[in-house]
Symmetry: C2
Subunit: 226 residues, 2 copies
């Protein structure tokens, strides 16, 4: 119910909490310095994770990330070694938080909210990420698609995540910086709040979230007032 405090707040991780631009810079270096290809790499990663989901073939997000790299390199005649690519992909565990994130999480936590990450990355990765980013004290639980068998934004992911927390989807709110994630959460019956990071936008053919702001602090300010 809008105007009521959600019982659980789910948080997307990559780009929502953590800044993966340093990772993209390193991917770009492997792709002949082409930053545009690094952006393509991330979008392709999302695209192919959905190709897997549609056809019930779940690989890990890391496997799809590697495959997306391979595809781009092949299509652009770029030479690489598997080791150097895997080494760069490991940087996903060392992504810094966006500058507004520690304070935003602190505000939400102080207001009594239960905070749960919900990510396409594996359990191991998300645990490393929140520890490296120094935000583990704010996070009550981490749910990964590892537990579920689909990638976001399949609505089942959000529904199963709510189930895991012992609540109904309508008692949950997802905070995310991607239009596709917001669309999937709203389809599942969850509520949603969008953070407009650089290059991110809402999916204009989907429902609108109840909150759309530029930072997690601004989102938290609104949620605290409920």
């Amino acid at each position: 119910m809008k105007n009521e405090k959600p019982k659980v707040i789910f948080l997307d991780v990559l780009e929502t909490l953590l800044d993966i631009n340093p990772l993209k810079e390193e991917i770009a270096k492997l792709l002949g310095g082409r930053r545009d290809l690094a952006e393509c790499w991330f979008t392709n990663l999302l695209l192919y994770s959905l190709v897997d989901t549609l056809n019930d073939r779940l690989h890990t997000f890391r496997e799809v990330a590697f495959s997306s790299f391979e595809m781009l390199a092949t299509a652009n005649n770029i030479v690489y070694t598997k080791d150097e690519v895997l080494k760069v992909l490991n940087l996903v565990s060392q992504a810094p938080p966006h500058s507004d994130v520690p304070e935003g999480l602190r505000l939400l936590k102080t207001a009594g909210y239960k905070l749960v990450t919900l990510t396409n990355s594996s359990h191991t990765t998300v645990n490393e990420q929140i520890h490296f980013a120094g935000i583990d004290e704010y996070i009550d639980a981490c749910i990964s698609v590892d537990d579920i068998g689909y990638f976001k934004p399949h609505r089942h992911v959000y529904r199963r995540a709510a189930e895991r927390m012992g609540v109904e989807p309508e008692d949950c709110l997802l905070i995310a910086a991607h239009g596709w994630d917001i669309a999937g959460a709203l389809e599942s019956g969850m509520r949603a709040a969008f953070i407009a990071r650089k290059n991110s936008a809402l999916y204009t053919l989907a429902q609108n979230p109840e909150i759309a702001e530029d930072t997690l602090i601004d989102v938290a300010d609104q949620l605290i007032q409920l």
Copy 2:
């Protein structure tokens, strides 16, 4: 069955038969001359068509194409008018065939193959496309996702397309220039042949197609020998 002639050959249209680079050039002009954003636009179009498919919300491919444009423009603070974007999107009906396509289709047709387009675009669009490209004489039928309710590469699209033609998926072969399309066709039980157009690559986590060549003529040469 491999080593037997497929009863129906399905053909993907955009990028497989038709060259949409002129369309992408016009999209780039609307996006401040940024050709990299035009590539992102097409990948986002594919991504968001799958977001719709996952959540049973079928818009037309054109609607998703427009929305993908809007999202990129918004995220990059680019001003546009709806009319100019729709006008550019209309160019999808005037895409020239790749240079190898008329001869490739002629070879397949002369060998007695039944040729059917299978595309995410609407019926109206594909009919305009094959007429404009001057290849309608080779095409026996056009199947669009309009008829089916999912976008490719959901395996149901391929299965329903086979059903429409009165054959089993294993009696069909899809020719496509996208790794995701090949992956979906193989998941459905169809056979597949890949054409490596500029920037295209096979999905390395999916099964391999029985044929992978650089042109439709080379693909046709192999299919004729079956």
